[in-house]
Subunit: 218 residues, 4 copies
Amino acid sequence: MARQYSKGARTENAFREAARQEFAARGYLSTKVEDIARAAGRSSASFYNYFTDKADVLTALAREFHEDTRTQIAVPYQKGRPPDEAVRMAITIFWETYRDRLGALSGVFQASMVDPNFLRSWREIRRSAIDFIALGIERAQKDGYCPGIDPRMTASALSSMLEHFCYVWLAQGGDDEDSLLDEQTAIDSLVSIWYHAIYWKPKDERPRAGRGARTRSS
Amino acid sequence: MARQYSKGARTENAFREAARQEFAARGYLSTKVEDIARAAGRSSASFYNYFTDKADVLTALAREFHEDTRTQIAVPYQKGRPPDEAVRMAITIFWETYRDRLGALSGVFQASMVDPNFLRSWREIRRSAIDFIALGIERAQKDGYCPGIDPRMTASALSSMLEHFCYVWLAQGGDDEDSLLDEQTAIDSLVSIWYHAIYWKPKDERPRAGRGARTRSS
Amino acid sequence: MARQYSKGARTENAFREAARQEFAARGYLSTKVEDIARAAGRSSASFYNYFTDKADVLTALAREFHEDTRTQIAVPYQKGRPPDEAVRMAITIFWETYRDRLGALSGVFQASMVDPNFLRSWREIRRSAIDFIALGIERAQKDGYCPGIDPRMTASALSSMLEHFCYVWLAQGGDDEDSLLDEQTAIDSLVSIWYHAIYWKPKDERPRAGRGARTRSS
Amino acid sequence: MARQYSKGARTENAFREAARQEFAARGYLSTKVEDIARAAGRSSASFYNYFTDKADVLTALAREFHEDTRTQIAVPYQKGRPPDEAVRMAITIFWETYRDRLGALSGVFQASMVDPNFLRSWREIRRSAIDFIALGIERAQKDGYCPGIDPRMTASALSSMLEHFCYVWLAQGGDDEDSLLDEQTAIDSLVSIWYHAIYWKPKDERPRAGRGARTRSS
DNA sequence: TATGAATGAGATTTCATTCAT
DNA sequence: GATGAATGAAATCTCATTCAT
């Protein structure tokens, strides 16, 4: 296997892999090019033969992420699956993706705080998630569920939940210094929220969600 | 107003205010002490007469935030308010707090990515939010709502949603480069999700939240 | 007593005293103007009403030292005292002076390492000590003691011993982290060296001090 | 010569050498990292590739000094040399060492005034000198010389003389602005003092060294 | 006089990035 | 391609000193 790649390709790969690891372990912002090089067992000068920047590897990881994910995400709703199962599948996929791509995702997220280019990049990533979620909501609405809610905004909120919950538990180590992660409970909680947030039908009057009074102050 | 404070107190305030603004505008990580000083119309040397660090102002802002918020947060659930109203109030308060304290909150959040001290600090802030949410869930469960869900995990997820949604829309400028913020819709969406995520009762079998299969891979 | 001095004079005195203490305690180089001011219970701005510099107070202390000492030092050899007693007296005086004037002396010494002006000042202080010692040697030589040695060079060496031994034990806390100072033994040792270094008469040939071969290398 | 060392090793050496020179010329305290770099013909950023600190180069110089000296110092007293010759040899060695290692020695000395770590370091250097001197005194005492004196205290005093005399003449440029150094006379003077301070035998009563009256005040 | 406050001028240090081999 | 080595450019922080009140 290693034989069919050129020396250069293997080195590039080593850097990519090292970046993934380092970004996941210490976060993109705290990772120095030097750290990546050390983890790759290469010199940091060599790094610049393959990438222009720390930002550049991250971009590569993000692209990689994109390509790998685009296909998966479509799956859940495809076949006439019952909605709760679909939700569970979608969330599980997301969770696992985040976990497996921790370096890329939390990296892009962190980078977006400092570098406007990555804000754009980050938004792209989000957008595909949001689009997907919004689509699900619109379908549900056609079936009479959750009438009146704004699909995109709701999708944005659910996406925020997903992303951040994953970030907190997978990248930041949880709510507490010593909190242990029970993946099953975590996913169950997300699923429950998500499912009930969408698959409800109005009984009579309430809830009046969507008719809030003006916010208090400017 | 200005007259009853000493010159020093006013300067400290100017720095604090400037920090708030700068943190909110360009983010904590991108803000240099020099930037704060310039925004405060003072020299950066002067800054160090009042704070030891960029981290130090942020800590001050965070403390300020804490003190101001602790009281407000208790309000919504106090009087026998109908749950949907309580939810709306709570979220509105959170939203407005985040908006008004953008510098402090997004600052602490960003700092937590790079500085372990702030990770602790950030968790504290989160914890009080989560505690509060979890309490609401437990109360609801006593009334027969949302049986079987894990209150803390669910609270953690809802809190993630709140925080991150606020961060995205208030600090990051929304989902899109040109997305305009409709605060009312934003809050409505949050309220709807939140409300339905908690105030549901099982009809028959489904949904089977809490009984998920094992996740696919390690 | 305090009444006959003007407010200003008392303040100046407070600074002077504070400087003495601080210089003695933490060394001239490590003392900040701020430290002096704090010790004097005054503001550091006020300091500059009385002195132009940290160097300036030190100069004042040095002058003070000079004036106070000039008289004392002449005493020992005045009356036809036996030499060993005279030596003991001289050394005791020096030791006590150093101890009591620690701030000024170690201060000037330290300052001389960084500021050429103080090198001059320090040399002046040394010179009077050396002159005095050299004089004693010349007298001894007239009485047939220690023929052939260079009085000024020898005086320079003895003065070095005195100064540095005092510095080590009084300012630096001794040879060891936990060395306790036995003042009597300290003085006895100095006296013995000094006395025997000068009050010897050649028996036959040896010692051939003063006729050393060339030093080994350049 | 230059060829058998790697570029890095040569650079490190250049810095070391430059530091030695600068410390010797302007004193450790007045030397900036920038100065060392300039003297080494390198950038100051480069300096930090080899040393963590200005203190770090000094430590390196001190270690170098230690290693080189430990061997030499034992020589003088080895073979049944007459004491005056041994004394002359020992002092000559010390003098030459100080002269050749001026940067390291005066550097550590100056640093010890400001940095507690170097005080420790300095004391170590002193200790080996003092140990060595004290040993000589004890031997002399076994031969009936200088009974009653405290070997370590006397050694401490003689060491002070040596160090400080060397410092004054080699680092500080002598007693006077324009004093010319006659190395031979300098060494002769030290030798004479040292020799007579130790190699004396009591005739009758006097001198009463070691029986001094209490010092005057606390 | 006294002082709270402000600041200019530096020194240290870090790191991404380049370059010669 | 690879890398040891070098560095420009920045940011942080400290302190002596000044100034307005």
